[in-house]
């Protein structure tokens, strides 16, 4: 079964598959797929970029949702804790957050393991570190978006949920959340596009994303303008595809709204 799916994905690969862009146009040039060109390396970079962004999204959304809940709770201490989080991670450059998470996690894990008597070098996975750093940044921004969406929902909605005898989190799930998604979607769309661009930073800690792969190709082939141009174009195409797809999601979320 998995063999079938992998065959399907190979066949539908838009860059290096049998009907891929690099296969059709780029054969015999620098971007051909296979041993002689850089096409397959770049296609791998695209996969890494997309999977990093897709893996970060749910984590960042869940953390952001929890922080938005904390930021609007009646408990002062919880609001303070959430405020500290968003202030710090919205104020730090993404690149610095990435370094802090990448080296900090290593130190943290090492010192925790040293406590248990394990002395050895720990090298954390660049993908995981990149995911953690991007999720932290994404969650602090998305918490602001979700918080303003929460504030846009009138109190009466909660009261109506109470008067129907719904439990608190059933009110949240059945009454609040559907409206929340609809209100927050434009802001979250923006954040997704920003996240897609921010994934380029992980190339600095050695993850083989689009920018790193094209950078290697540029250095080896001495065709820097061509390859970095391809990198920019790939990001552009990813942004276009996602804004196209998110347009559909937005229309789906608005399906029950009054048409004007």
């Amino acid at each position: 079964m998995s063999g079938f799916f992998s065959a399907l994905f190979t066949a539908l690969d838009p860059l290096c598959g049998p009907v891929g862009l690099f296969t059709l146009i780029g054969s015999g040039t620098l971007v051909s797929c296979g041993e002689t060109g850089w096409g397959d390396e770049i296609a791998f970079g695209v996969k890494v970029t997309i999977s990093l962004a897709l893996a970060t999204l749910p984590v960042g959304l869940v953390i952001g949702f929890l922080i938005a809940l904390a930021a609007q709770s009646e408990e002062k201490l919880l609001r303070l804790a959430a405020g500290i989080y968003t202030t710090i991670f919205r104020g730090l450059p993404e690149l610095l957050t990435l370094f802090i998470v990448y080296y900090g996690l290593q130190i943290l894990i090492q010192s925790v393991l040293a406590w248990f008597g394990y002395e050895g070098r720990i090298e954390i996975n660049a993908f995981l570190a990149g995911m953690a750093a991007l999720a932290v940044v994404f969650s602090s921004y998305s918490s602001e978006v979700l918080l303003s969406a929460f504030r846009a929902i009138p109190r009466g909605q909660y009261e109506a949920g109470d008067s129907l005898g719904l439990h608190r989190w059933r009110t949240m799930r059945l009454v609040i959340l559907p409206q929340l998604i609809r209100i927050a979607l434009p802001g979250l769309t923006n954040l997704w596009l920003i996240l897609l661009k921010d994934t380029s930073y992980v190339s600095v800690i050695g993850l083989a994303d689009i920018l790193r792969q094209t950078g290697i190709a540029a250095r080896v082939s001495k065709e820097a303008f061509f390859f970095y141009g391809i990198a920019c174009l790939l990001y552009l195409v990813l942004a276009m595809i996602s804004s196209f797809g998110l347009g559909f999601v937005e229309r789906w979320a608005r399906r029950s709204e009054v048409r004007r």
């Binding site: 904390a70 709770s73 009646e74 408990e75 002062k76 201490l77 919880l78 609001r79 303070l80 804790a81 959430a82 500290i84 202030t87 710090i88 919205r90 104020g91 730090l92 450059p93 993404e94 690149l95 610095l96 370094f99 802090i100 080296y103 900090g104 130190i107 596009l193 661009k197 921010d198 994934t199 380029s200 930073y201 190339s203 600095v204 920018l211 950078g215 540029a218 001495k222 065709e223 820097a224 303008f225 061509f226 970095y228 141009g229 990198a231 920019c232 990001y235 552009l236 942004a239 276009m240």
Partner: protein
């Protein structure tokens, strides 16, 4: 007929409602405790790893890096603002070609990462060295600082053009018509009536853009400019001391928070005539 002969004696204050322990309270205390623990750990790290020698060696470098970051961002924002004006007007013009070009520019620069743009300009244009030398521009594109500035200007101009356009278009039509009814020439109407109202709308997005630029400017460290991030990376590569990143974080947080507060003050000051 009854008269009140005696007053009600003073009563004790009602008992203060006891603060109950809720889940939110426990969670708040737990998370705050985590923050405090983290802060203590970081402070202990700084105190334990304190080295006068390193401080004297890298402290001045940090300050020079700070200056490089601030001057780079300041120049980029100013030049970007200048460049954004024609783009915003092209974007609002009814000429379809001009409009299309401006739209393509804004779309291109807003949907590709700053890092990729910087690489494209610094490394990419470097491969056109003979041509650039022929037109006498090589000194500009040879230097990483100039390249960083150039890519920042191009990038922020795209964002600022959108901010400016949105602000100008947010001024209601009646304002244009009122100015026309008063017989003001278009230029005067724009400068005296439209622009002041537009700039108030644009104030907050401009502040956000400056903060984003400040944070984005860290990428020049990768093309060997010794800005704050660059000095941090330099110090880390020499000492392998995690503190270097913490110091950079403190600097960046201080800059961003200062900017945010200055901007909030400016906004409150400039919009005080709109408060009711």
């Amino acid at each position: 007929m009854t008269a009140v002969n005696e007053l009600i004696p003073p009563r004790p204050a009602p008992v203060a409602a006891r603060r109950t322990i809720t889940g939110a309270r426990i969670a708040g205390i737990a998370v705050l405790a985590l923050w405090v623990l983290l802060a203590i750990a970081l402070a202990a790290m700084v105190i334990n790893g304190w080295d006068q020698d390193k401080f004297l060696r890298y402290g001045p470098r940090y300050l020079s890096g700070l200056w490089v970051t601030i001057s780079l961002v300041g120049l980029a924002v100013v030049f970007g603002a200048l460049l954004s004006v024609p783009i915003a007007f092209a974007r609002m013009s009814s000429n379809r070609i001009l409009n299309g070009i401006a739209y393509a520019y804004v779309y291109l620069f807003r949907s590709t990462p700053l890092l990729a743009q910087l690489f494209l300009i610094y490394y990419g244009l470097g491969s056109f060295r003979p041509q650039l030398e022929a037109v006498g521009l090589w000194w500009f594109f040879r230097d990483a600082w100039y390249c960083g500035l150039f890519s920042f200007v191009l990038n922020t101009a795209a964002y600022q053009a959108e901010i400016l356009r949105g602000a100008i278009e947010s001024v209601p039509r009646g304002q244009h018509e009122g100015a026309a009814a008063l017989g003001l020439p278009k230029y005067v109407a724009f400068r005296k009536i439209i622009l002041p109202q537009a700039l108030i709308v644009a104030l907050r997005p401009y502040g956000n853009e400056i903060v984003l630029m400040m944070k984005g400017s860290a990428v020049v460290a990768i093309v060997t400019v010794y800005d704050l991030m660059g000095e941090t990376r330099y110090a880390f590569s020499r000492t392998f001391d995690y503190q270097t990143y913490l110091w950079a974080a403190i600097f960046y947080l201080a800059i961003v928070e200062t900017l945010r507060h200055v901007w909030a003050f400016l906004e409150a000051r400039l919009t005080r005539h709109l408060k009711r």
